[in-house]
């Protein structure tokens, strides 16, 4: 029964948020974008609203959070009651505060990591496709070899060697992710480099960097963006899995992946506490991909 109730409430929220955000966007959008928003599916408007909320929460975390990020308020595992609306965690910190700051840290780190992975992977991938020959072979073989090493174990090795500062966490996950992006970027670019406009640009004598940046990249965006949506979410998972193995983001920084891990044993007793950060991740994943799907749908021109 409770599950059914939860599903009904969830769906109601989905429609409410979706419709409200669509109406708002229509109201606020500049004139030429109004039709775009008018026909956007409910999933997309819901996704946009969720992303927007996350961004606002991230930016305004210190304002919104009732307490300090790692401020120990009282006893551990207090029930959901004011002033701790979502209770406290195992150190007696306010769960809601941790979640709010978690948005900032998690989303920030995930974004930085994914962005870095995409910059590196995309540039190398397109470069390989563009130049071809031995460069392509060499890069692709190296990437193949790296991909053949299980990502989690490879990250574990690298993090143990380089330490677990946020920077090395970002660099290591980005490096592992970049191999996947490289593969995608290369295969997409291979479809583009045979186009006449690339030939025209080469014949014009354009340099490599401009070919990549102006001629190929804009046309490779759609599949890359789709991949970005998924990869972005996989970063949370990677951090979470790493914290399972004793690495991950350093305390007392609040991040959702580690929060799931810290509180995970509670689920054994049916306590929903770890569901909060897990749900926050899942919601963002779904939201990001709803928007990505919508964008792809618009870009593909395949009207259904």
């Amino acid at each position: 029964m409770q599950i059914l109730l939860a599903v009904i409430i969830g769906l109601a929220l989905f429609f409410a948020i979706g419709l409200a955000s669509r109406a708002t966007l229509r109201g606020l959008a500049p004139a030429h974008l109004v039709p775009t928003f008018r026909d956007m599916p409910l999933t997309a408007s819901f996704g946009l609203a969720v992303i927007l909320i996350y961004v606002v929460v991230s930016v305004l975390a210190p304002v919104l959070a009732p307490f300090g990020e790692s401020e120990v308020m009282g006893a551990q595992y207090l029930p959901w009651a004011a002033p701790y609306h979502l209770g406290t965690d195992k150190l007696g910190r306010d769960m809601l505060t941790r979640l709010i700051y978690g948005a900032r840290n998690t989303v920030g780190i995930a974004f930085a990591t994914t962005a870095l992975a995409f910059v590196v992977g995309t540039v190398l991938g397109i470069w390989a496709a563009l130049v071809g020959g031995w460069l392509d072979q060499t890069l692709s073989r190296i990437v193949d070899a790296l991909m053949a090493i299980p990502a989690l174990i490879f990250s574990l090795l690298l993090l143990t060697i380089f330490g677990t500062s946020v920077l090395s966490l970002i660099l290591v996950i980005a490096a592992v992710d970049a191999t996947r992006v490289y593969r995608l970027a290369r295969s997409v670019a291979q479809g583009i480099v045979v186009m006449d406009y690339i030939e025209a640009a080469r014949l014009r004598g354009e340099g490599m960097w401009r070919l990549i940046r102006r001629e190929i990249l804009p046309n490779a965006m759609a599949p890359l963006v789709a991949e970005f949506g998924l990869r972005f979410c996989f970063v949370f998972l990677a951090i979470s899995a790493l914290s399972f193995l004793g690495l991950g983001i350093k305390p007392p920084t609040a991040d959702w992946g580690s929060m799931v891990r810290e509180n995970a044993t509670l689920i054994t007793f049916g306590d929903v506490t770890p569901l909060l950060p897990a749900g926050a991740i899942a919601l963002l994943t779904v939201a990001v991909n709803f928007v990505v799907d919508w964008q792809l749908h618009r870009a593909s021109g395949l009207k259904e």
Partner: protein
């Protein structure tokens, strides 16, 4: 067919090269890790004297390149050596666990591949329907929850009620049926983890094809939507589908250490993490190479199957 054999030969050759590169990378990375086997075996309370004795016994005092060379020459002769920590032959150590790992991977694949392909095809068929959106959202939710957490939730609902065991205990006398029953939860966890990816890719691959003129032709021949998708779209979408299945199979073999830990499943992942922790390089190398070979072979198989499934590559005029 000759082309295929040539491709297989070429890829196997590249595969060997890949394995070599990986063995160097893994060896180097393990070398870079602080501490060594002797230290790990003795614990932190060991005195320098004991450490020196153990290092000497284990041959850790040789320079790294020499140790790599010794390992490589032995490995090339098919001798992967003994675990430096336990003195057990690596073949024994790894053998049973490799079987377990493959069993779990195939089990999860047997569950997830049919489910995800069916869902993917249906989602493509009924694209933008409630079914499509709901399955998409559910799939995304499933992949955005950490594996260990999925496992805990499954245990909460399916093990605490006594339906399935919460951990896997495989002994010599375990029957196949028992093993299927005991491994159900880890297999289900992995299924939830990989299904979304395969399903989304299947759906995308098929929808990608629907704009093709031959699909319109099939519809104009009066074929039903299901037949259009199954008979006209799916055969042409096989290459990407096979590839994503191979990628996920590789993941099921190589990437499941977390699930192994949660279900106490004696697989290769846990063994490798242990070996890394203990700096037992011979074991790390052996498992890394097994994982890499699985990856290389699965990719090769995927490419061969994609080629076979594509008449343009199979029947050159």
């Amino acid at each position: 067919m000759n082309d295929i054999w040539r491709m297989i030969g070429q890829r196997l050759l590249f595969g060997l090269l890949t394995l070599f590169v990986i063995s160097v990378v893994i060896f180097g990375a393990t070398e870079l890790l602080p501490g060594d086997l002797a230290r790990e075996l003795l614990g932190q309370s060991a005195t320098e004297e004991t450490l020196a004795a153990l290092r000497d016994q284990l041959g850790l005092n040789d320079p790294a390149p020499l140790r790599y060379w010794n390992w490589l020459t032995a490995a090339l002769q098919g001798d992967f050596g003994v675990s430096m920590a336990t003195k057990r032959p690596i073949a024994d150590l790894v053998g049973a666990r490799l079987g377990n790992t493959l069993f779990l991977a195939l089990y999860a694949a047997a569950l997830s591949v049919p489910i995800s392909l069916t869902l993917g095809v249906l989602a493509a068929l009924w694209r933008n329907s409630i079914f499509d959106r709901a399955s998409n959202a559910l799939a995304l939710t499933a992949i955005s929850i950490p594996e260990f957490f999925v496992a805990y939730i499954l245990v909460l609902f399916l093990a605490q009620s006594g339906l399935f065991p919460s951990m896997v205990r495989i002994t010599g006398s375990t029957t196949f049926g028992d093993q299927l029953y005991m491994s159900f939860l880890p297999a289900l966890t992995l299924t939830l983890v990989v299904t979304a990816h395969m399903m989304r890719m299947t759906r995308a691959a098929i929808i990608n094809l629907l704009a093709n003129p031959y699909i319109e032709m099939a519809r104009l021949k009066g074929m039903s939507p299901l037949r259009v998708v199954l008979r006209h779209a799916v055969p042409n979408a096989l290459a990407p589908i096979i590839n994503v299945v191979a990628l996920n199979l590789a993941y099921l073999i190589t990437g499941v250490v977390v699930v192994e830990v949660v279900f106490v499943y004696p697989g290769l992942g846990q063994l490798m993490v242990d070996a890394v922790t203990n700096r037992d390089i011979a074991v790390v190398q052996a498992i890394a190479l097994i994982f890499a070979s699985a990856y290389v072979l699965l990719n090769l198989i995927a490419d061969v199957l994609s080629t076979i499934s594509n008449p343009r590559l199979m029947h050159r005029s």
